[in-house]
Symmetry: C2
């Protein structure tokens, strides 16, 4: 496994791999890897011949009052995990390598970034699309894998790729959960034992939404109300939003036709957690089968 | 020479060319080609093995009161000229091909787009950088050639490429002029004979600036004042701006050190024309030697 921190080294290695006919897979991460990330690496391996993982805690996607400084980092541990997965290349650049001069250029996706997390994290998605555009230009990957846990991120990146004609296929990977249902997140490490237990309320509330959907409930407000009720039953949980939207356009649904994304964000203590389920009628079965 | 209008065809052809080891050169244009454009094609041929020219009058870079509808177009004539130059591929897409769904994603360069033309054409450069990002992603060229006549455009695109790590080298081509000094522009066709004659005041005013620079003048305001005086001596000419800036950062200069861009925009009748000279002390000679 090659570990590098210079953009020019990435370009040289990728060029060589491409010349030998290899299909390049990219998994962009902020490190502090968990099973969710590793599942992305496995999916990338199934869809490409040379898998690169970037590890970069991207400052421009954090708000001024967010957790950039205390975001968990452990490169040594990450490298061991990636080595075990058979990852081919790890790119772990410094902030200076990624932003060497005053950044004047940004990539922005309108509208679908105003909702869900975007409504509460102004500038967040502009930071995400800008760094992902940079990574796409550095790696020129054939495929890139993103986790469904950040459902809005996937929708935003897919729209960016479509609008700007990036020559890359975006693969969406299912949410990976702890055995008790909590969606895996690097931020789970912030939770104390009491909060860790309380955090189960997120997946529990979505399980209730799923029950309603399986029973044929089509009214988005009924589902939103139920999810809110369950979340509010937990004293340590403060709801930020509960939304029922179309998974591609992120437009609010009133009536659920073929598919819906039920997405939630809550504070458990001071830790902000997100989770979601993707409902697709056409499968006539639950997509949310990991809990 | 291949002539196509579908993005998927471009991708297939470029992929084939790259597999056979060819270096790709791109010349993005809005068509209605003149000697200036053809000089870009020649430069591209000197720096690559397969030269593609895009012809696309990009609606999103025109303001609501600008000349998108009446912008001159003559694809048949353009193709003949490009064939003669030995161009390999022409991509002339429809607006629908380039913008098939609601465009939510834009690429924006801050600060340096607020000055010069950007101050008078709000949104213009956002339209330029967005379409150029699309073209870069469609062609994945090794080099791309832009004319120095749109000096701000070159600076903005260079900054976009640097900030977003586009894997392309930007080559700046010198201004090509008519024998009497008028900088070539597709918009020159708007000028009636009287205006055509009056339009010479632009290059004449820059010639005066050059004389001052050659005589050692370092004070930007002295040069700006002189250029304004010359331009205002022509009754058909209405000055929009005369600026003396650093050619990369486009920051206003008060004192000229090593290099300077003297850029002007004027209306001759209802036609907006731009011109500029690039001064580089280190050559100790005029760069502006085409008039």
């Amino acid at each position: 496994m090659i570990v590098i921190d210079k953009i020019s080294d990435v370009r040289n290695i990728i060029k060589e791999q491409k010349l030998s006919g290899k299909k390049i897979g990219l998994v962009p991460t902020m490190g502090y890897l968990h099973e969710g990330h590793l599942s992305l690496v496995r999916i990338a391996k199934n869809h490409s011949d040379f898998v690169a993982v970037s590890i970069f805690v991207n400052p421009i996607q954090f708000g001024p009052n967010e957790d950039f400084d205390r975001y968990p980092r452990d490169l040594e541990r990450d490298l061991k995990l990636l080595e075990k997965e058979g990852c081919d290349l790890v790119f772990a650049p410094s902030v200076e390598e990624m932003y060497p001069s005053e950044l004047l250029t940004t990539v922005n996706v309108d509208k679908i970034t105003d909702k869900l997390c975007g409504a509460f994290r102004p500038g967040h998605f502009k930071g995400v699309t800008t760094v992902v555009a940079k990574l796409f230009n550095i790696f020129t990957p054939d495929i890139a894998v993103f986790g469904q846990k950040d459902a809005q991120q996937v929708a935003v990146i897919k729209k960016m790729v479509e609008d700007l004609n990036f020559p890359v296929e975006i693969i969406k990977a299912p949410i990976v959960r702890e055995v008790d249902g909590l969606a895996m997140s690097s931020r789970n490490v912030y939770l104390n034992p009491e909060e860790r237990k309380a955090a189960l309320i997120l997946s529990k509330s979505l399980k209730e939404a799923e029950k309603l959907l399986l029973n044929g409930e089509k009214n988005a407000n009924t589902i939103i109300k139920k999810v809110n009720e369950v979340l509010n039953s937990e004293p340590l949980c403060k709801v930020q939003y509960v939304s029922c939207v179309h998974p591609d356009t992120l437009e609010d649904l009133t009536y659920i036709k073929d598919k819906a994304l039920i997405a939630i964000a809550c504070f458990i203590g001071t830790t902000r957690l997100i989770d979601n389920i993707l409902w697709e009628e056409k499968y006539n079965a639950k997509v949310y089968d990991e809990i």
